[in-house]
């Protein structure tokens, strides 16, 4: 069988993309393609541009973003879910154990109206809390601003995602003027709250790999998934090397931050079709808050890629 | 033959009638003066003849090979020095830069400007110097028809005489035709073949005075005599409202 000229994979700098870097470095797909290219997307605009131009085969995306694209008529199907938990609270006060304990506090929330924000708000609501009245939520545009505010003591608590949490902890601990820099603590894990509140397990299907219409070859797709699994395993078991590899490819991240974060992320690759139920449960929770976050409605069954 | 022919020319600015039924002909080699009260429409008439304003009614047909205009206000380019200002028309006519500068320097000296003034910008010139630069700019291109709008008003009596004699010299050689506006009747009498008297509100020609003696033959005597005579003219007196004083 003939080899493909080139496979293009796009992804954000978040954890979901990191195994891809290992795949490329080890040239894992050499049996199906002459060349594999990774393209970074840093914001939704770039994602849109990449998807519309249609010169990409696979994208690493948050599950809800894949759903939006699918609902907007883009030929995109979810292959797997690999990131099942990256959200957590970071706080200056190490006595806070559940979200309830944050009542009355000022909390920085990045990604307004994006998935982390909505999960957070839903978790509060489901516990009978009113996000508007019981908390003072300060929306910031990105995790970096939230970290800045934490470090500058403008704020004591923040919702963050890995690896930003690890980066922030590293940064504050290692800073030379440690005396005035605050000590921050990894606080509530949102996945645990999820399990408690919805009476299920700690898995939130947050991000995974999707395939775009351009890639038709089922064999290539299954090879890709195989190798992704392998690389993910390597990633989880070699945090130090993984940190180094990722930091050398994506200079927005630091190697210690990535290495630290791996232990705190719920990573496992599950075929999308196998976990359709969990994903739909998750989407329904999101939809309750704001239907637009999944593009208005649940995606059709064809959205979940099936290997035959 | 080259001539400027104005036929039943009317002009309005907005709803105000400025000129009514102007008729005259300026033949090659002639000097025609327009005199009249301030605000009477003389400048407007000149602009119409020179094609700087659009003729709305009637016609102004100019068949002269070339023409140039010395404006009532100097209209120098503030960002060019004296010589470059004078050379403007020459360069526009396609003269080589060095030749244009040469000619400009020559005429500037003739017009009583000094070497040390050549590099000055207009803002550093006296009123009379500005007027001379503007006049020189119009004359240096050797137009066959010259429009002059009060070119001597800011000059001292010596310069006035000198420049007039330059013009008279050219006139007698039939090198130039002139349409000339002035407030000074003696000046008009010294230079013109014909004087048009333009009465105001709206501007219309009430009388023409002709002078047949060749310009270079007219001495002070002649000019004084003729101007004394013209000042007795009823039309002149009523047009300029002289009797009241």
């Amino acid at each position: 069988q003939e080899k493909l000229e080139k496979i293009v994979i796009a992804g954000p700098f978040a954890s979901v993309s990191h195994p891809l870097l290992h795949m490329i470095k080890t040239n894992a797909l050499k049996d199906v393609a002459k060349e594999v290219e990774f393209r970074l997307w840093k914001n939704p605009d770039e994602l849109r541009a990449i998807v519309i131009k249609g010169d990409v085969d696979f994208v690493a995306v948050p599950t809800n973003t894949a759903a939006i694209l699918n609902n907007k008529g883009v030929d995109i199907r979810l292959l797997n879910v690999s990131v099942w938990g990256i959200l957590g609270m970071i706080s200056r006060d190490n006595t806070l154990k559940t979200l309830k304990d944050f009542k009355g506090k000022k909390i920085a929330v990045p990604f307004r109206a994006d998935m982390p924000d909505i999960v957070f708000v839903q978790l509060l609501k489901k516990q009978g809390l009113d996000p508007k009245k019981d908390f003072e939520l300060v929306y910031v545009s990105n995790p970096i601003d939230a970290m800045q505010m934490l470090i500058m003591r403008r704020i004591d608590h923040s919702l963050l995602a890995e690896p930003a949490i690890s980066v922030a902890l590293r940064k504050t601990d290692s800073f030379p003027i440690k005396l005035i820099a605050p000590d921050l603590y990894r606080s509530v894990d949102l996945q645990e709250e999820w399990a408690r509140v919805f009476n299920t397990d700690k898995d939130i299907p947050q991000a995974g790999m999707a395939v775009l219409g351009r890639m038709k070859d089922k064999k290539v797709i299954s090879r890709f998934l195989e190798e992704y699994d392998n690389s993910l395993k390597w990633y989880m078991s070699h945090p130090q090397e993984a940190g180094k590899l990722v930091a050398s490819e994506i200079d927005l991240l630091t190697k210690d931050g990535v290495a630290d974060s791996i232990a705190h992320i719920n990573l496992k690759s599950k075929s999308a079709a196998d976990v359709q139920e969990k994903i739909e449960f998750f989407f329904n929770v999101l939809k309750e808050e704001d239907p637009k976050i999944i593009g208005g409605k649940l995606p059709q069954d064809s959205f979940y890629y099936k290997e035959d | 033959m080259e001539k400027l022919e104005v036929k039943s020319l009317n002009h309005h600015f907005g709803f105000t009638e400025i000129l009514r039924d102007i008729n005259f002909t300026l033949n090659k080699g002639q000097v025609l003066s327009v005199v009249g009260p301030s605000g009477g429409g003389k400048t407007t008439l000149l602009h119409l003849c020179a094609g700087l304003l659009d003729v709305e009614e009637g016609s102004a047909t100019n068949t002269f090979a070339s023409s140039s205009f010395a404006f009532q206000d100097a209209r120098l380019l503030p960002w060019k020095n004296v010589i470059d200002n004078i050379a403007l028309g020459l360069l526009a006519a396609g003269e080589k830069k060095s030749v244009a500068i040469e000619k400009s320097k020559k005429i500037a000296l003739e017009f009583g400007l000094e070497e040390s003034d050549f590099e000055k910008f207009p803002k550093d010139l006296s009123g009379g110097m500005r007027q001379r630069v503007s006049f020189a700019r119009a004359l240096v291109v050797k137009p066959s028809l010259l429009f002059l709008d009060e070119p001597f008003s800011a000059l001292d009596i010596g310069l006035k005489k000198e420049l007039q004699s330059i013009l008279i010299d050219m006139i007698s050689k039939k090198e130039i035709s002139i349409l000339f506006i002035t407030h000074d009747l003696m000046e008009a009498i010294r230079l013109s073949d014909e004087i048009l008297l333009l009465k105001a509100d709206p501007g219309h020609i009430v009388k023409k005075f002709s002078y047949d003696l060749a310009q270079n033959k007219r001495d002070d005597e002649y000019v004084y005599a003729q101007s004394a005579k013209i000042l007795q003219d009823r039309e002149i007196i009523t047009t300029f409202e002289l009797e009241l004083k």
Binding site: N43, P44, D45, L47, R48, A49, V51, I52, T65, I68, L69, K72, G73, V74, F111, R112, A113, D114, L137, V138, Y139, V140, S141, D145, Q148, M149, M152, R154, D290, K292, I293, G295 | K123
Partner: protein, 260 residues
Amino acid sequence: MKFTLKILKDFPAYLWSGWGAIASILLFIALWDMGNQIYGNLVLPSPLETFTTLVAMLADENVIAEIKTTLYRASVGFGISLVVGTSFGLLAGFFATASMMSRPIVTILVGMPPIAWIVLAMIWFGMGDETVIFTVIVASFPIIFVGALQGTRTLDGDLKEMSDSFKLPWHMKFFDVYFPHIFSYVFPAWVSGLGMAWKIVVMAELLATSDGIGASLAVARSQLDTPTALALVVIMIGSLMFVEYIILEPIKREVELWRS
């Protein structure tokens, strides 16, 4: 008073003269529709869809509140820039030393990317109106300053001399002699500064607050909700056009009547 009446009186004629403008806006919309057909809804929703969304949004009082917030910030920021930029520009123009001293500071303001300011502003003012307003001022002030400076620098020395000879008091000197000249320089700077303010207010909101058009745009962006995003852009452009053509331009026409 007389002034206002005159402006009102000239208004219909002014509107009438706007046909060309309308034609070119229609042309623009036609191009946009073509773009939609080429790139599809995800990149560029059709004008129709956008305007439908817009109408729906304008019926929503939350949206109106966001617009008001942004308008407030933009107007305060631009207003302050206008006053401060114009006055400092004038001062710098009138006093050579002031000019020497202030120009590098202005260059620093010009060269500093808003992102660098926003961090400082967030520390000083927190995440609210003030941060946005501050960013707007910092961005649009230099444009206006440069315009006013140039206007003052190019004043006609002859008219200055004339006004000295009549010993005009300073306020007459300023309003009767200097202002009409400076206006012709500072007015386009105001227009550019307004555009800048309008752009930056949205950017600053996008980066530093949780309300206003900018924040809504950020939400629409992260939800890949292009019709809403475009509708917001249309609101921005519409308000800018309103301010420019219905407020600024007639004022300009009146002040510059003497030119025509």
